[in-house]
Amino acid sequence: MIGNDIIDLQQSRLESNWQRKGFIEKLFTVEEQLLIKNNEQPEIMVWLLWSMKEAAYKIYNRETKIRAFIPQKLICNIRQQNDLFVSGNVTCDKNIYHTRAIVTKNFIHTIAVINENELNNVIEIERKEVVKDSNGIPFLSSSFNWQKPVSISHHGQFEKIVCLSS
């Protein structure tokens, strides 16, 4: 299973004021709030953590069928940060989701998977390759792989559609 989330940073500046009183406290755990506070670029940390939660929630929601606004129950842990990726995980109840994020000047894109090694098998596909079932859940349309789950994320000027290659 796969989940992904893209954040257009220019768009987020128009849509959200993360410095608003109560914003951080409602969305993030105390540990996450510290990560934001102590970061050189708190704005980037806010949206990195948010995109990790959103990508993980997409898997959680698809597998459990539970729909809820639970940002503080999706607990982020950042494990490693290098020039290319920020890798970490998100836990929710007893579930753990492994994440890999790309952070650029213009966007943050996070992918979440269940098995960590699946992070190496992620491919981007085009919208025309996607079909949706009667519940609006997206799948890859290829006849051999018709049950292959797809995750679509769109924000501002960016859209990312991903699935697992194997």
Binding site: S16, N17, F23, K26, R67, A68, F69, Q72
Partner: protein, 84 residues
């Protein structure tokens, strides 16, 4: 405040975050903030903060979890106002 007044007040709160004006104009208790009004999930927290300010109430995490549609929002606000 009766339910119609409450919904009217709620409607002015969610307006700036809504991108689907048709669904907004035809808003009912069944209207879903994300699926119908196309509200960005990060803006749900703004709606919750705006509700807290406008109605002078505090919405805790278990209530926030259910804040996905007009009906739940109205229920939560009514309960909070009643216990004031």
């Amino acid at each position: 405040m009766n339910k119609d007044e409450l919904i009217a007040k709620l409607k002015t709160i969610i307006k700036p975050y809504t991108t689907n004006t048709d669904a907004y104009d035809n808003l009912t208790e069944e209207t879903d903030f994300i699926n119908d009004l196309n509200i960005n999930s990060a803006n749900l927290v703004d709606i919750i903060l705006d509700i807290e300010e406008a109605f002078d109430i505090v919405i805790d995490n278990p209530e926030m979890e259910r804040m996905l549609d007009v009906k739940s929002a109205v229920e939560i606000i009514e309960t909070k106002l009643a216990s004031k």
